[in-house]
């Protein structure tokens, strides 16, 4: 952010500002722990449950399982405990974090774990001397030595109860269970507690894989489910915090620049006399509950993605505020003007166009338009490529030959694959027909499909014939040329 008082903030600067505010909470809190405490929202019930479980952890020796969908905030939730030094000291707890994503590979992850365990033993003043050099060849031996050491050590010497937090194990694509087996010996030990965070997919995989894994990690454990929250409130908390004029606000210098300058955002706020973002709700501006609920729906309630979308949405609304449709509604017998974000705007938000908005920064989200990029024969490039991925499963000569018959050159196909595999391109919808007035919301809901990776685009569209009926045909099917 530019802090020069005379310079007018540009949309690029807004972009930086909002992207900063919507960053991952844990990334932000690496710089300053205060930011975490300020921005963490709710989860009081779950936290109280976790605290009560951990209070009895010493005597019971039970493991804990935290379940929730992707991007629901499982890691952030556990870090609330890890950052709570007062509680950890009071209850004599010591946290060891095994974060798979932070390590470069599995061996690195285990080596880091062994290092952390050594630190733990030094911390409780019972250092372990029997470990051999910590390198990839000795990992199994060292893990066995550690397990035996915890077993043989006098319980009174374990001054702090060990809590091992296994995080991001969902990202292990191959050989998950042999990796998880390294922690099985620890999980069965009653002198320590394993805290595993898992998505429903991982939970089911463990439950059906082997009975012993299931008993230690998913069945005989204390389970905490991370519930969904209102996306609007979550975002409000983020933005409201930014706008608080308080010395303790870690974002004060950024908020000052935005609010004290003559810019669309501050003008918007001044116009309505709004002091913080939460107050915007009562004016029924486009950033209202329905809009964010809609966002939740298209992202399957993944808050990480909602933050990405919110970033785009707010910038879009700021940029197009004057263009937004106005309706008049009566609230308590008083007519109130409301700005409404129509379905067309929602689409415009995600589709590529030549507006000024697009030039300012690279949008995080993009919609794949199947009616875009047609060959000379008017066959859709994306549609045919997706079909070919599904049929051939690999990019061999047959794959390219089939697509060449439909008029797509290999270079274009490669470009299309790159776009489709990009994780930020998640939604498929045509942008040509979307008459907002004649269309029910349900139609949009049915048409949007969230996908995880490029390869799964077609498989996730369950109502494919319905799609073509509504939005027109995408040209010839690849099945005609195979």
């Amino acid at each position: 952010m530019n802090q020069d008082p005379e310079k007018h903030p540009t949309l690029e600067e807004y972009s930086t500002f909002f992207s900063f505010s919507f960053q991952d909470l844990l990334k932000l809190s690496q710089r300053d722990r205060g930011i975490y405490n300020t921005l963490f929202y709710n989860r009081l019930d779950e936290y109280n449950k976790l605290v009560s479980i951990l209070r009895n952890a010493k005597s019971r020796g039970e493991n804990i399982l935290i379940t929730g969908d992707a991007g629901k905030g499982k890691s952030s939730f556990v870090y609330k405990l890890i950052f709570d030094q007062e509680f950890l000291n009071k209850e004599n707890l010591y946290c060891v974090v095994v974060d798979y994503r932070e390590a470069s590979n599995k061996d690195h992850c285990l080596m880091k774990f062994i290092d952390q365990m050594q630190k733990y033993f030094i911390d409780i003043k019972s250092p372990i001397h029997s470990l051999i050099e910590n390198n990839p060849d000795n990992i199994t031996k060292n893990l066995h030595l550690l397990q035996n050491y915890i077993l043989d050590i006098d319980v009174n010497l374990l001054k702090k109860h060990l809590l091992i937090f296994l995080d991001d194990f969902d990202y292990i694509e191959e050989n998950l269970f042999p990796f998880l087996e390294n922690f099985l010996g620890f999980a069965s030990n009653s002198n320590l507690t394993i805290l595993l965070s898992a998505r429903p997919q991982l939970y089911t995989a463990i439950d059906t894989y082997d009975n012993r894994f299931a008993i230690y990690f998913t069945r005989d454990v204390q389970r905490i489910k991370i519930k969904s929250m209102c996306a609007y409130k979550l975002l409000s908390k983020r933005l409201a915090t930014l706008l608080v004029k308080d010395e303790s606000n870690p974002f004060k210098h950024v908020a000052d620049i935005l609010l004290n300058k003559r810019n669309p955002y501050s003008e918007l706020m001044k116009k309505y006399g709004v002091k913080n973002f939460e107050e915007l709700n009562k004016f029924n501006l486009p950033l209202k509950n329905d809009f964010f609920n809609f966002m939740s729906q298209i992202t399957n309630g993944n808050y990480r993605e909602i933050f990405d979308i919110a970033h785009d949405s707010i910038l879009y609304i700021l940029d197009n505020y004057n263009k937004l449709e106005t309706i008049i509604e009566e609230v308590d017998n008083v007519k109130v003007e409301k700005k409404v974000l129509t379905n067309e705007h929602v689409l415009e938000l995600f589709c590529d166009d030549d507006s000024k908005f697009k030039e300012c920064y690279k949008r995080v989200y993009k919609i794949i338009n199947l009616h875009e990029y047609r060959s000379k024969n008017k066959n859709s490039l994306f549609y045919n490529t997706l079909q070919a991925i599904k049929i051939f499963e690999q990019t061999n000569d047959d794959f390219y030959n089939a697509l060449r018959k439909l008029g797509h050159s290999p270079e274009n196909v490669d470009k299309a694959i790159t776009i489709l595999k990009n994780k930020s391109h998640r939604l498929i919808i045509p942008n040509k027909i979307m008459p907002s007035k004649n269309l029910n919301d349900s139609v949009i809901y049915n048409t949007f499909r969230t996908t995880e990776k490029g390869d799964y685009y077609l498989t996730n569209i369950t109502t494919w014939p319905e799609y073509i009926e509504r939005f027109g045909h995408c040209g010839r099917s690849i099945k005609e040329v195979i």
Binding site: T140, H144, Q147, N148, I150, L151, N175, F177, P178, E181, L184, G185, F186, S188, N189, T208, Y209, D210, N211, R212, F213, A214, I215
Partner: protein, 108 residues
């Protein structure tokens, strides 16, 4: 079916299908259990391991007092898996160290 039973079944699987053995000494089972999960089998006695083994393979000869080599069979193993609808991990996921440990001395 308890966890120890599942572990013994897995060891029996390796002996039966990997090494084609039909007789085993309890010492092999005992050591393998201790190696697999030292914390869980910290207080496991030789006698307990023998008792659990006999529960799984209740053949008359196994129950005898002075039995040294205990019999295992694929039929009983499969019956347990089907009857109790047990989920055991695939053979490919079993660690190589366990194979080496279970391997009887004459195979080394």
């Amino acid at each position: 079916m308890r966890i120890i039973h599942l572990d013994i079944l897995e060891i029996s699987y390796i002996l039966l299908y990997k090494y084609n053995l039909k007789r085993v000494r309890i010492n092999t089972i005992f050591n393998s259990l201790k190696f697999k999960n030292p914390s869980f089998y910290k207080n496991l006695s030789f006698c307990q391991a023998r008792q659990c083994f006999i529960e799984l393979f209740p053949i008359y000869k196994n129950k005898r007092k002075k039995c040294r080599y205990f019999k295992i069979s694929k039929k009983t193993y499969n019956a347990h898996i089907q009857h109790h609808s047990v989920n055991l991990r695939p053979q490919s996921d079993i660690k190589e160290e366990l194979y080496d440990l279970i391997k009887p001395p004459r195979y080394v």
